[in-house]
Amino acid sequence: MNNNVLCPECEAEVSLDANVMQGEILVCPDCGVDLEVITTDPIAVEIAPMEEEDWGE
């Protein structure tokens, strides 16, 4: 099974573990966005809601 997906935010190729589970949250290694695995067969991800952090500025 091909466990690579494209990040919907930046189109970086994201490699997923073979035993990835539906609902799992991943981080795109390029743009840092949170990705939620919405299906595992086929593998598909979507951008997950991210809580805005206070940057201290």
Binding site: C10, A12, G32, D34, E53
Partner: protein, 344 residues
Amino acid sequence: MIRASIVGGSGYTGGELLRLLLGHPEVEIMQATSQKHLGEYVYQTHPNLRKQTSLKFSAPDDLEPCDVLFLAMPHGKAQHHINQYAALAEAIMDLSADFRLQDPETYKKWYGAAHAAPHWLDKFVYGLPELHRDEIKHTKYISGVGCNATACNLAMLPLVKAGLVNLGQPVIFEIKVGSSEGGASVNPGSHHPERSGVVRTFSSFGHRHTAEVIQELNLQKPALTISSIDLVRGALATAHVIIDTHITKKELWKAYRAVVNENPCLRLVKERRGVYRVPEPKILAGSNYADLGFEWDAANGHLVAMCAIDNLMKGASGSAVQSMNLMCGFDEMMGLSFPGLHPI
């Protein structure tokens, strides 16, 4: 193993060259000259080099033949002695501004005087590997780079290379710089009570490094505004440009990813969490990496492109050693792997 010497070894860029070349596995340093510190150990001027070398500063007139001669003198000096230096070494790396600009008239316009050796200008390749990697591999004469120009050129490189910018439109660069850009000589503005805590715009427009941005990126209307801030090392260029609103964020990512993947010293910093979400020069002190980043307001096409560097490294001595590596057929990153410090 190549034999290298440094003319003007007591300044900040000379000190950085010594630090980098002492740790370089393929370079043996033969001489470092300094009239002012003649006969003194180099670590007496560059204290971080204590126990790294027992080299003493030589007289400029006592220079001996070597393979690569680094010129780290103030601007305007090298052009008067270039024939003498070329007779001593097959390859020359001049870190000053003397051989950066290809056109004698352009040099005169920006530096206010005719060039003393105009026939040498087209022999030199501009020493920024991210722009001239193949030419550097096939030349023996390499110029230095302006630190502010380097931050600007690298900030815009992904956009220019991908054709996402209209070269004729204005690009506004706001550049914040540390005190080491001023060199090792003192002036009233570098006096501690005057420099400490400073946020001072010392060049609103017309800085000489503008010429390097025009020459290297072919931008026709770049405006560089430069401010001193309370850092010793570091430069951050923040470029403002309007791009076509039909361009997608994915195209921008593709442009940045392509440039970063092609260039081992470039890193893309665009995080969603943590403190270091955008490029910041503080963590690059002593490193030859240049950190790039961007933010884009899709509604009006306003793009902010950023580049952080250590002005003495990627903006001077680091790029020179990187270019030397390419010219000599060494690994491009040899001696340049230090990633910087955190916290600092």
